[in-house]
Symmetry: C2
């Protein structure tokens, strides 16, 4: 049995993948520039190097049967090279190619017949003004590459704000998107295995704070018709994308009940952390199964509802957990601390998942629990 | 917050403790003589040394706020020394003292008013013959120290077998126990925290194969009155023992419905592995909570029943997992591989837990799943 997994990126996503990879008997090596990274702490070996250090990636390739990533890895040349040497890489360079360029991603989605907000490539101020004629204000100016957690977006409310937006995103390749006035943000974590098997976890509502995923409610408290529609879109996305692994499909629910796909994240996703306790198979185990060609696991929920709240840092200092003893007194509350040495403002330091009989019960408990914890 | 845990022993028990310790944000160092031990693979650091290497244990003590163990650690001197330096050690030297000497353990249980089989200390053949006058044959000749998985026991069916038993257990301190003709073996995993809080997981039936725990059925398929009685005994044991951590209380159910305590195991226990998926809080997280003074978690089951079957090695060779893809197709079947490099006959290489609506459904599925896996 091929049982050696290499992970590019040593943050919390790699860490939680590693727990399940180890459980299934894999050996795990991670590459990350920070020594003793969250993932490095819990795996067989960490290679301390930058993600784009070719020598280090080659070394990782040499000792891995499977290579996967917790980041949007974009050095397709080295992936092709390792792939030719027999390393199985998922998501593949091709999948990253479609997803990493947000404009290409939108084109891919539109071509697949999936509903997205109108968009157009832009370079100059004139291009943006032309787009505004079609889409109207406000509109979103977006970077095509390396944008996440709201970085790489500029909201342009009127003509006078174009220069501010262009300045914010200077030196970046850009496109413009029609602003969607949504009532809720939804997400579905989907897995597709190298054998073509596809499963979708329950559709959730995601609540953002400063563009960072903050709270996730499972199942999404919306009409069953809406979640069914969202689930169908998520599965259809994977049928067309064809990549292997776990993906987060972020969606908007508009006032008139339309569901639009906002973005595909090519990795285990913050909106799926609730699956660790909330579903029979966690998204992390699912990812390991998917990229190693194992059958996918049950996505059945273990409780009627689950709410996840991120533990975002609120200061800059060495990390120190306070209040754990208060939270752990609460039944059905599960705490995950990522082992990061430094707390920073808005840095993802951990998360809390609450299982409950109703969404309301779990939600209220999650808010209460979060307030009890300092890090 | 004190967040550094040291574990003595790097096998599968330490490994599963470590997963949960890391989840809660602790740093973990393990001491084990085998490099890259099952626990060493998943923790911050392994000190490669014998458990009785005083220098190494001192080093572990220096970098640990809490010290715990997956083995029956019996060097009380070094524990006392570290304890005086401020390391919190659980189970404590005192607790190990009561438990490690099986004769002392029996005396402790009897003194606490807990039901045990009749027993008496013996040294010579004459002592054993005298014991047989009171207890009758068959009787069990047992080693007082270092006995587990059936090693250190000799069944004496009649007078002529005394010499065979004495020869098998030569050079060991001994006692004799009245043979209990039981209908089932039961076990309860109990936790007691350093704050005195006590919880007992559902009472299970354990089925042994060559004296090694093989199958665990939760909840035990016996009359509710019996499980209630067993649970009360387990809790009472902890009330008297007063140690902190998770303990396995092994019991016999006799033909006439009596429950006797057979043995206390001072550690997370094979009969509690089902709690990882089968209960809201696993016995491993519970142990970490208990020894670090955190509140204990819910022991509620996540499904009506759970059956665990051990993956015992069936040959001597480098370990290689085969058949994983067949098992993972089965819903509600969870596989744990311990990462041991070598398969050996009857060595614990991993386990499978199955959740089900009924004990029968889970049991049949577990037997089927086990047959599909080779290691």
């Amino acid at each position: 049995m091929k049982n050696r997994i290499g992970i590019v990126g040593g943050g919390q996503l790699g860490r939680m993948m590693a727990f399940d990879a180890k459980k299934l008997g894999f050996t795990v090596t991670v590459i990350d520039p920070t020594p003793n990274s969250p993932t490095g702490q819990v795996v067989d070996r960490q290679i301390v190097a930058d993600f784009y250090d070719k020598k280090a990636i080659r070394e990782l390739g040499k000792i891995s049967d499977f290579l996967t990533s917790e980041i949007e890895f974009s050095d397709s040349k080295i992936l092709d090279e390792l792939s030719q040497k027999g390393v199985q890489i998922h998501p593949s360079a091709k999948t990253f190619g479609t997803i990493n360029d947000k404009l290409e991603q939108k084109k891919f989605l539109r071509k697949a017949g999936l509903p997205v907000a109108d968009f157009i490539e832009v370079e100059t101020k004139d291009d943006i003004q032309n787009a505004a004629k079609n889409f109207g204000y406000p509109l979103l100016l977006k970077a095509r590459f390396d944008a996440y957690d709201g970085r790489g977006n500029a909201l342009i409310k009127n003509k006078s704000q174009i220069d501010i937006g262009l300045n914010k995103l200077r030196r970046k390749k850009l496109y413009v998107e029609k602003f969607v006035s949504f009532t809720k943000e939804l997400a579905a974590v989907v897995a597709r295995s190298t054998k073509g098997e596809i499963v979708s976890y329950p559709v959730v509502e995601t609540i953002h704070k400063n563009n960072i995923c903050h709270i996730v409610i499972a199942p999404a408290p919306v009409d069953k018709k809406v979640t069914n529609k969202a689930k169908r879109l998520a599965i259809k996305t994977m049928q067309h994308l064809k990549g292997a692994g776990v993906f987060g499909i972020e969606m908007f629910l508009t006032k008139n009940g339309k569901v639009l796909i906002n973005e595909i994240a090519p990795r285990v996703h913050n909106s799926g952390h609730f699956t660790i306790e909330g579903c029979r198979t966690s998204q992390f185990e699912q990812h390991i199964r998917a990229v190693t060609g194992l059958p996918l696991g049950s996505i059945e929920m273990t409780a009627p509802s689950a709410v996840m709240i991120n533990i975002l840092g609120e200061r800059q200092s060495p990390a120190q957990v306070k209040g754990l003893e208060k939270i752990l007194k609460m039944p059905n509350v599960f705490v995950h601390i990522y082992g990061k040495a430094e707390t920073k403002n808005e840095r993802k330091m951990g998360h809390i998942t609450v299982l409950g009989k109703t969404v309301k019960e779990a939600y209220n408990k999650a808010i209460k629990a979060r307030k009890l914890l300092m890090i």
